[in-house]
């Protein structure tokens, strides 16, 4: 019942962004980029509202103060592990502007969300090199990007395979990678679980900055980009493996 109310609230917010905010800003904004940024700002407010509701009905508590220091920074690639369905909401609620790489297969099954995603200018993960170029160009213009390197929710008790897209984008743009860990106890809305399978109590979310990677350290190492991206991704995986209690939920 509590979670049902949260999903209804989230659905209404998504519909509002897709069918009210997006058409309005498209008409009023002076450029496509300004329209994207306005929609992203609306999405951030929708996320904040959803989180406030989830807190109110005691589905979760959140400690994400560390992310506040990122809000004042320039371009960066925020990467995170992906234990729950709420991760993008938790991170996105902190940033008025946050580009995002989304799962193309997932958006194909969500026509309403897909509309909001397109209006926000989010990038689908099936575009290969052109997605890297697109994201890098945005970062060069000072924008922030959120990437879940596993590409889908983390499996229970471990991590999924980290893809190298974030490293390629960092190397192409010069923007640093900021590794964020998401811990959730007890874990809810995880991989392979139905949306209504939630423990009766309250889940505690903890978001921390676990490390940073500067692409200049890899790009200038006298190796080609493919190898630099591999080494950068290996180091990213190492950051997560060194973090206690992240993947064992």
């Amino acid at each position: 019942m509590r979670l049902g109310s949260a999903f209804v609230e989230f659905g209404i917010s998504a519909l509002f962004v897709a069918f009210v905010v997006a058409p309005l800003v498209r008409r009023l904004a002076k450029s496509p980029e300004r329209a994207e940024l306005a929609v992203q700002g609306a999405i951030r407010r929708a996320y904040a509202l959803s989180l406030a509701w989830l807190r109110l009905v005691r589905i979760l508590t959140v400690d994400s103060k560390e992310l506040e220091q990122l809000a004042g920074e320039g371009a960066c690639i925020v990467v995170a592990n992906h234990p729950t369905m709420l991760d993008v909401v938790l991170i996105g609620s902190h940033f008025p502007q946050m580009d995002c790489i989304v799962n193309a297969g997932w958006t194909a099954n969500s026509p309403f969300l897909s509309r909001a995603i397109d209006a926000a200018g989010y990038v689908r993960n099936d575009a290969g090199q052109s997605a890297v170029d697109d994201c890098a160009a945005r970062l060069v213009r000072g924008r922030k990007l959120l990437v879940f390197p596993e590409g889908t929710r983390s499996p229970w008790g471990s991590y999924g395979k980290f893809r190298r897209g974030a490293a390629h984008i960092a190397l192409a743009s010069g923007a640093p990678i900021v590794a964020v860990t998401i811990r959730c106890r007890p874990r809810m809305l995880g991989s392979g679980r139905r949306w209504h399978e939630v423990a009766g109590g309250t889940s505690r979310f903890e978001l921390r900055i676990a490390g940073r990677l500067d692409p200049a350290a890899y790009d200038g190492a006298g190796v080609g980009l493919p190898i630099a991206a591999r080494r950068m991704t290996e180091d990213l995986v190492r950051i997560y493996l060194q973090e206690p209690d992240v993947a064992d939920a």
Binding site: G128, Q129, V132, R163, R164, G224, A229
Partner: protein, 83 residues
């Protein structure tokens, strides 16, 4: 150029560009599952093949290929490779 020679050329590119063990790069090796290559690596492969063999091969063609042998077969068709 024979398919054996083409395989050697492809192997040399994959070993050099992606730090692969030469023993891994067999004709039956799967590009994604065995060699851990992705769509962005495909772009690198295309660029290197075009420079080395002066053949035209598209990113889309590479994405559709599953094994090292598929690349060799496609190159053989373009370079009149014989067994």
């Amino acid at each position: 150029m024979t398919e054996t020679e083409l395989l050697e050329r492809v192997r040399s590119i994959l070993v050099r560009e992606f730090e692969l063990d030469p023993g891994q790069v067999t004709s039956s090796a799967r590009l994604v599952d065995d060699l851990d290559l992705d769509s962005i690596d495909g772009v690198t492969i295309v660029v290197r093949l075009e420079a080395l063999l002066h053949v035209s091969i598209t990113d889309e063609e590479i994405q559709a290929m599953t094994t090292v042998g598929d690349i060799v077969t496609a190159l053989a068709a373009r370079t009149d490779g014989t067994r």
